[in-house]
Amino acid sequence: MSGNKSSGVRYGMVIDIDKCTGCTACSVACQQENNVPFREDETNKVRSITWMEIYQLDNGMPYPEYRQAYLPRLCLHCGASPYPPCTFVCPVNATHRDEDTGLVNHIPVRCIGCRYCISACSYHARYFNWWDPKWPKPMEEMLTPNVSPRMRGVVEKCTMCVHRLQLAKDRAFMEGRSELEEGEYVPACVESCPAKAMTFGNLLDPDSEVARLAKSSLAFRLLEKLGTEPKVYYLSSQDWIHKLADKVM
């Protein structure tokens, strides 16, 4: 809880592309967990809010050497020092990296909707509310109180389910603890993954599974050359995926 920079916690994620079956459960679980709005037509993908977006990659080979893979892309909570690409451009301090956790947050009620952060992010991880979020009447009952629904004209993005961290801390406080144990705080996408392809935890804790996997020789990050230092790692044993991911543009 202290404000100094050596909190020893940097939450991060590892996604095993080889294990990912492309089922999209993470994306659905995320939408439900975070009151992500939807419209009747969501096929204009550059105006569709999907915190956890899934890309289809392929090896570019002809049939039958063709192979595809799915790559789930959330906000990568860039660890670039001193700032991720998106936060320092915000004119109103609506987005900010919590240096106690490494999580990049975005507070829609502060956001004025200038979309500078959207432009600065190379991962398309940030989304603008082009319309007033609206739910069919009965579905308003399934909105979760843990995440505040947004309004038109603001940016939103993956928070790594930071509300789960808040609630996990509440539970810990009841037991008089201020430190969390591994697994007490896990985002909805990781929890949902039926193939257990996603691992979440503290990258600075050498004993954590996520730290171990992030150091694997199979690990890579997206657009590594840009120096954004994402805290979401991917694993794959496929050369073509490594080659593809190593590219910029």
């Binding site: 095993d16 080889d18 294990k19 079956t21 492309g22 089922c23 999209t24 459960a25 994306s27 659905v28 679980a29 939408q31 439900q32 967990e33 009151n35 939807f38 009747e40 037509d41 969501e42 096929t43 993908k45 569709s48 999907t50 899934i54 392929d58 080979m61 002809p62 049939y63 039958p64 063709y66 192979r67 595809q68 893979a69 799915y70 009620v109 007033d132 979020p133 609206k134 739910w135 069919p136 009447k137 009965p138 579905m139 308003e140 009952e141 399934m142 909105l143 979760t144 109180p145 505040s148 629904p149 947004r150 309004m151 909805a188 929890e191 949902s192 039926p194 193939a195 257990k196 392809a197």
Partner: protein, 796 residues
């Protein structure tokens, strides 16, 4: 002059008044508070819904959106608003994982197309304007009177259930039995071919179970093993397991399929075969294994029947050269694959095309099973076995009166067990055919439960035609789906989150699981549990029907069966995370963790499921109930039931199904494909899932077909072009997505889209492939395949 001065004075004074006013206003809170408050207003404006707050609780139950049988947890606010569904970590089938459909479950509970009261069609069928809301008493009365009136034509009552197992389908079957109709049917699926195959080769009725978690090599013949085949979450978990194993003993996956799906891409090897020839490849492997003597001699010599005939057939028709010709797979690959399959222990071959919704051919199933038999993988760890039965207590025997007794000998409207198709199959397509052709006797009334055949049935048009010849259609659906739109009477059931129901062992599992779903919140509408409706209906009828339902309500009936579990003295309620019943093999005794029926029931409600590992896989000596007591390559059962033909008829073989349509008119082939991102009913894709579709799958209201870039180039088609897809059945307008996943000259169309029912978030999105697919019937079993149809493409 003076007036002008005054005017000037006035003007200046006015300016000063205003200046004072501005000054005063700026020194008052008004502008600053207004600026702040309007900003706050914009953060909470009234048209932005603010979620209900309160204490959160979690209820565990079992998902019923597909037969997968996964445990789910529902988060409730103030025990009133369900706000989240995730996987139940204590449920052994999914271990906390959840598929997209399950995760979107609340969009069904709160779906705008929920049916709130019973409905009666007062006008023309299909006209939603004339669907009148009626009370339950009236609805039951209407149905009860109809049933009483048609009792003499009792056999004309047909029920089709989308759910195959569990007490509710059993109650439907029981009702028909007691009422006097042999026509309880289920929606077609690959399980139909499986159970016939098990019946003719092993003499068992029942279902198949794969010990996949312990296999070292898996060869999937067309099964999209991570895209919805079997119990989807269990398969994805197994897949992750195969991938986690260290490099040395990692499970090898081979996908034999025509399309470069995710299952193909994620396999260690993808063997691309010509459309519909997976079984031929299986027989090709068998030939190599047999001719090279790589088969399991202990099993083949001691526990099989008809091996020599099989061997002869293989040598004649399925040499690598011949199979290479049929499948398009090179000879060396066939030989290599066969050697690897025979050399890896344990290895298992999977069958059931795509997600397993197509019945498929029994012979294809037998071809794949013969491979499992040859390498000794039947009823062995890491192989294929039969799915253990649940020790549920039986209900009392159905009471039969004169009417229902005569119906015992009535032919079924689907012709199953009849002279043409003597095997005990589920032949819904044949039912459709018979109704359309006016064969046997008329179908007076159709009940539809947990099924949406008007959309989901491949080659749906004959069914829609048949509906016109059926007197009354009754739907038990919770949603305004396509079939319900065509119903005359709707008796809406509660959704799975609002009802008590059992979910028996999911398909393909090697150990028994009994899941129990229960209402996690009070029903949102005036719906009634179909079980309760059936019991009430039975009680309203005279004679034996009421007597066959000696329960006050569904709960009592269900509990009566569950008592069997409590009495079995084995198995446990799954109440801790990380249970892995497949580890350590089957046959490990599990002492119950409950001490009475009431305790068991309470724990089932709390945790969701019971499972067991006590039952060992049957020994080879005891496993087969065939006339020979062995696994029969050459089926004597088929002979017994009266199937006539030559030797080949009784042996696993490959029959090339000629796709419907003249190749001169329809030069390309059309194959449907399924994905996890589009559900294939009976419910339609929820908005959450539709959102995850790529814009090359759905764009606006247009859906896409996959075409190989070379094929497209030959026809002058570019990415995104609009085309008409024409088969013998009709034409659909779609757009083109170019991908190397598509085999040249084959067009792949996704199923599950193109709804016309439900709500504005669902209907009108894409086209329903089922409208133009042509189902083809096997003349021995009556089962159908619809994987390939000839098609013509024209640009529009």
């Amino acid at each position: 002059m003076k007036g002008k001065d005054l005017m000037k004075l006035d003007r200046r004074a006015f300016v000063k008044l205003i200046a004072g006013g501005v000054g005063g206003t700026l020194l008052s809170p008004l502008p600053w508070k207004m600026a702040d408050d309007t900003a706050i207003w914009s953060q909470n404006w009234f048209w932005r819904p603010s979620p209900e707050r309160g204490g959160a609780t979690t209820a565990s139950t079992v998902c019923q959106l597909c037969p997968g049988g996964c445990g789910v947890r529902v988060r409730l606010i103030e025990e009133k608003n369900a706000v989240n569904i995730d996987g139940n970590p204590t449920h052994p089938v999914n271990q906390g994982g959840i598929c997209p459909l399950g995760a979107a479950g609340l969009q069904y509970l709160y779906g705008p197309s929920r049916i709130e009261t019973p409905l009666q069609q007062t006008g023309k069928r299909g006209d939603l304007e004339t669907m009148k809301a009626i009370g339950w008493d009236e609805a039951l009365e209407i149905l009860s009177i109809k049933l009483r009136r048609m009792r003499q034509k009792a056999r004309g009552l047909v029920c089709v259930s989308g759910k195959r197992e569990g007490t509710v389908p059993e109650l439907f079957a029981r009702f028909l039995h007691a009422y006097g109709s042999p026509n309880y049917m289920v929606m077609p699926a690959a399980v139909d071919a499986e159970s016939l195959g098990l019946f003719v080769s092993q003499g068992n009725s029942g279902a198949i179970g794969y010990d996949l978690e312990n296999a070292k090599m898996v060869v999937s013949f067309g099964s999209d093993y991570i895209e919805g085949w079997g119990s989807p979450n269990r398969m994805m978990m197994a897949f992750a397991d195969w991938r986690s194993n260290s490099k040395r003993d990692r499970t090898k996956i081979i996908q034999v399929a025509t399309r470069g799906s995710l299952s193909a891409s994620k396999a260690d090897e993808w063997v691309a075969v010509a459309p519909g020839t997976e079984a031929a490849l299986a027989l090709g492997l068998a030939q190599v294994i047999v001719s090279e003597g790589r088969y399991d001699r202990t099993f083949v010599n001691n526990h099989t029947y008809g091996f020599d005939e099989f061997k002869r057939l293989l040598r004649q028709n399925y040499t690598p050269e011949k199979v290479a010709e049929i499948t398009g797979v090179v000879k060396e690959k066939i030989v290599g694959l066969a050697r690897e399959f025979a050399g890896t222990k344990p290895a298992v071959a999977l069958s059931g095309w795509g997600q397993g919704r197509m019945q498929g051919s029994m012979y294809d199933f037998l071809a794949v099973q013969s491979l499992n038999a040859l390498v000794g993988s039947l009823h062995k760890p890491g192989g294929v076995t039969r799915r253990p039965k649940l020790p549920l207590a039986p209900w009392p025997k159905v009471v039969l009166d004169a009417t229902s007794l005569t119906s015992e000998n009535e032919p079924r409207l689907d012709g199953s067990r009849g002279s043409q198709f003597p095997l005990p199959g589920q032949l819904f397509y044949n039912f459709v055919k018979n109704v359309n052709e006016g064969n046997l006797y008329p179908a007076e009334m159709l009940w539809v439960y947990e099924a949406n055949p008007a959309h989901d049935l491949a080659d749906v048009q004959p069914f829609l035609a048949a509906l016109n010849k059926i007197g009354t259609v009754v739907s038990f659906s919770s949603f305004m789906d396509e079939t319900t739109q065509l119903a005359d009477l709707v008796l809406p059931g509660p959704t799975y989150l609002e009802r008590l129901e059992d979910i028996p062992t999911p398909p393909g599992l090697q150990y028994p699981v009994f899941g129990l779903s229960h209402p996690i919140l009070s029903p949102r509408f005036e719906t009634r549990h179909p079980g309760d409706v059936l019991i009430a209906l039975a009680h309203s009828l005279d004679g034996s029907v009421g007597a066959s339902f000696p329960w006050s309500d569904y709960e009592t009936a269900l509990k009566e069966r569950v008592k069997g579990l409590a009495d079995a003295g084995r198995g446990q309620v799954a109440d801790e995370p990380g249970l892995q019943p497949w580890k350590g093999g089957q046959g490990r005794q599990l002492a119950p963790n409950y001490d009475s029926f009431d305790d068991l029931w309470e724990k089932l409600i709390e945790h969701g499921c019971w499972f067991d590992t006590s039952e060992a896989m049957p020994s080879w000596a005891s496993a087969f109930k065939t006339p020979s007591g062995k696994f029969e390559f050459y089926s004597q059962k088929m002979r017994q039931v009266g199937i006539r033909g030559n030797d080949i008829t009784y042996l696993p073989h490959f029959e090339q199904v000629e796709p419907a349509g003249d190749p001169r008119d329809y030069p390309l082939l059309l194959m449907p494909y399924e994905t996890m991102a589009i559900t294939n009913g009976p419910v339609a894709n929820p908005p959450f899932m539709t959102k995850t579709l790529f814009d090359f799958q759905l764009k606006g209201n247009d859906s896409f077909v996959e075409v190989n870039p070379n094929t497209a180039a030959n026809m002058g088609l570019k990415e995104g072009d609009r085309i008409a897809l024409q088969t013998e059945r009709g034409t659909l307008k779609v757009r083109v997505h170019l991908t190397e996943a598509a085999r040249p000259d084959v067009v792949f169309i996704p199923t599950g889209l193109g709804h016309s029912g439900f709500d504005s978030y669902i209907k009108g999105k894409g086209v329903n492939a089922n409208m133009i697919l042509v189902a083809q019937q096997d003349q021995v079993t009556g089962l159908v395949t619809w994987w390939v149809t000839r098609v013509k493409i024209s640009k529009v």
